[in-house]
């Protein structure tokens, strides 16, 4: 059935909680209020306060206690209300959750999914708009999942909850209500680490993840009308990374545009570019191009400034067209 990205999050949580009593949800405002974005609406009514809990406003506690709960047999799905607020919990995520399996020589694990809404274009300004994936994609032991569509939300969220290792599940706030799609009723899993070609093409490859996949698809549609055939590869998870899919599309079209909303320098696009340069340089017909947020500390509030920051379908279209003409 057709539903929004947000509904896909909620219905997947509901479906998973019905089948697995080990799943608990907690975070700021997720209980009675059902989350500031309503992602957990109705879940406390259905599953009770023991399984859907409001927590104190303290991100390190939310993640740190979830680690303990995961070690003691639960499948916690804590929510960080905005990805921008995850930084007080970085020590628990990076130094603890991500390192526990390795440092214990495989004797402990942390099966936990941290959900966090990320991204801008929603009048969120500096502290409600950030894309944080590059900080965490650097960390071995952690998985970073960034779905673009309601269908992928369902399969990836279920797979993340089933995963034995800590997963950072980043949901784009702009996608919550603006992106709709068909989602089957039955349960299905999308393996973490498998990219998907969302649109086939032959002239230029756009490689992206999260919300900018949707913007890239719009750009590709417009370019098709002008005779430019664009392939769009959705990485879906950036750690683990589907390196084969990246190299395959790079070799196929010979022209690669990497698109992300996070700012350019040190962004994950650099990793994708380096990978292609290392393994597929002689298959390229043009320099790899990156289109990303500008190198400013974060997204400003005023609509004029916010719009100027965003990686829009128009900007993607222009960059891809330029690349096609190279």
């Amino acid at each position: 059935m057709a539903m929004t990205y947000l509904e896909a999050v909620r219905e997947t949580l509901r479906q998973e909680m019905r089948r697995d009593a080990r799943i608990i949800i907690y975070g700021e405002d997720v209980g009675v209020r059902g989350g500031v974005f309503r992602a957990t609406e109705g879940l406390q009514e259905e599953f009770g306060e023991d399984r859907v809990m409001d927590s104190p406003l303290a991100e390190s506690a939310i993640v740190g206690t979830a680690i303990g709960a995961a070690i003691n047999g639960l499948r916690p799905v804590p929510e960080i209300q905005f990805a921008d607020f995850i930084f007080p919990a970085v020590n628990q995520i990076v130094q603890e959750a991500a390192r526990i399996r390795y440092r214990s020589n495989g004797t402990f694990g942390v099966p936990m999914v941290i959900r966090a809404p990320y991204g801008g274009g929603i009048h969120g300004a500096l502290y409600h708009s950030q894309s944080i994936e590059a900080f965490f994609a650097h960390v071995p032991g952690l998985k970073v999942v960034m779905p673009a569509t309601p269908y992928d939300v369902k399969g990836l969220l279920a797979a993340s909850i089933e995963d034995e290792d800590p997963v950072l599940f980043l949901e784009h706030k702009g996608a919550y209500r603006s992106i709709r799609g068909d989602v089957p009723d039955e349960r299905y899993l999308i393996p973490l680490g498998e990219a998907e070609v969302k649109r086939e093409g032959t002239d230029v490859s756009i490689i992206s993840w999260g919300m900018t996949v949707n913007s890239s698809l719009k750009a590709a549609e417009n370019l098709a009308k002008r005779g430019v055939s664009v392939e769009v590869l959705d990485l879906r998870t950036i750690r683990p990374l589907d390196t084969e899919a990246i190299l395959e599309t790079a070799r196929k079209t010979g022209k690669v545009l990497v698109v992300h909303e996070d700012n350019l320098t040190g962004g994950f696009g650099g990793e994708v570019s380096a990978l292609i340069a290392e393994h597929a340089l002689f298959d390229l017909d043009a320099p790899i191009r990156r289109l990303a947020g500008p190198d400013v500390p974060a997204m400003p509030y005023a609509p004029s400034l916010e719009h100027a920051f965003l990686v829009t379908p128009e900007k993607i279209e222009a960059a891809a067209q330029e690349l096609a003409a190279f």
């Binding site: 608990i24 023991d50 399984r51 809990m53 927590s55 104190p56 303290a58 390190s60 506690a61 993640v63 740190g64 206690t65 979830a66 680690i67 303990g68 709960a69 995961a70 070690i71 003691n72 047999g73 639960l74 916690p76 007080p88 020590n91 628990q92 130094q95 603890e96 390192r99 526990i100 399996r101 390795y102 440092r103 214990s104 020589n105 495989g106 004797t107 402990f108 694990g109 071995p140 032991g141 998985k143 995963d163 034995e164 290792d165």
Partner: protein
């Protein structure tokens, strides 16, 4: 056992709480912790162990608290000084020495972590790290899961007074008290965070006072008296099992060694201070008390020392003969297989 009043209280324990056998067990763990710790320093100074971090002076606090928990159902989150904790919860001297020498069969980490970063899945001791106070949240989470799963489990986090300045300490006590979780927070307060004295760490005289901010009991305990420690912990555990929520124990101990093998506390503590602390060593004190109760004598002491030396020698030889980790395992256990 301290002074006349303590004697009566301890006597009551002998009768009602801890049997003579348990008291001997308590003393055994304390002496074993000290003997192993001293052996670690010998190995360090002899060039066989690059790093040692010590618990000397904390033994009564560590063994006294740990014996109040149930190894079959409780979980402990110790910190790097807690040799006495892990021994009293079932970790063997051989396992400790394999950790010191970073052998493949080190149960904490297979030689991946520095020594004394305890963890032992079979002994319900949760893996710890070097950044302090993080384990306080893990213990609260373990207790949360226990409650959701309907298990009669109490969790404990151990840490130093320096850790009580960390955000995770405050977030953990707050979270646990809001949800009335069965968790005990044990501060082993030795007065120093490496070189920084407690007077420069906090503007209050006691870590226990911090409990008031979370609406939970904060109890100051003489950490040189294993029976006082045991009683205080037993009361906190009973409270937790009874659904009354967490407690904070501020267990005052002495630090008889430098922070670690890379530190020299003579550079920031006076000779008088160090001598005064040495005079308060909890181990001879507990032995004297047992003798005064007529439950310990010289032949028993001699016998114990012989046994412990044999076990420490055995542990050392076992670890030295154990394989080092195969370099081919470097990439193992990043993710589940």
């Amino acid at each position: 056992m301290a002074k006349a009043k303590g004697k009566a209280a301890a006597k009551k324990q002998v009768d009602g709480g801890l049997s003579t056998e348990r008291l001997h067990e308590m003393y055994y763990h304390m002496v074993m912790a000290r003997a192993l710790d001293e052996r670690c320093w010998v190995m360090n100074r002899g060039g066989q162990a690059p790093f040692v971090i010590s618990g000397q002076g904390h033994e009564a606090a560590q063994v006294g608290t740990t014996m109040a928990f149930d190894p079959a159902r409780d979980f402990l989150c110790p910190y790097y000084r807690d040799l006495g904790v892990v021994l009293a919860f079932g970790v063997t001297p051989r396992e400790v020495m394999c950790g010191l020498l970073a052998r493949a069969n080190d149960p904490s980490s297979g030689g991946r972590q520095m020594p004394s970063h305890w963890g032992h899945a079979a002994r319900r001791i949760i893996t710890g790290s070097s950044p302090v106070a993080t384990q306080i949240l893990h213990a609260a989470g373990v207790a949360l899961a226990a409650r959701v799963r309907g298990e009669d489990t109490v969790a404990a986090a151990f840490f130093g007074e320096g850790s009580s300045n960390q955000g995770d300490f405050h977030e953990g006590l707050n979270f646990a008290s809001v949800h009335r979780l069965p968790v005990i927070f044990v501060c082993e307060n030795n007065g120093y965070a490496i070189s920084v004295p407690v007077s420069k760490q906090m503007a209050i005289s006691s870590v226990a006072a911090r409990a008031a901010g979370y609406g939970i009991p904060g109890v100051e305990v003489d950490g040189l008296d294993p029976l006082a420690v045991y009683q205080a912990t037993e009361a906190a555990v009973a409270r937790a099992r009874g659904g009354e929520g967490p407690s904070l124990l501020d267990v005052k101990v002495v630090r008889l060694t430098s922070h670690s093998s890379d530190d020299d506390q003579r550079s920031y503590r006076t000779a008088e201070d160090l001598a005064a602390e040495r005079a308060q060593d909890p181990i001879p004190r507990f032995r004297s008390w047992m003798e005064s109760q007529g439950i310990w004598d010289d032949p028993q002491e001699q016998q114990l020392m012989t046994r412990i030396k044999g076990e420490v020698d055995d542990a050392t030889e076992f670890a030295l003969a154990s394989p080092v980790p195969d370099a081919a395992t470097l990439l193992d256990h990043v993710y589940a297989p």
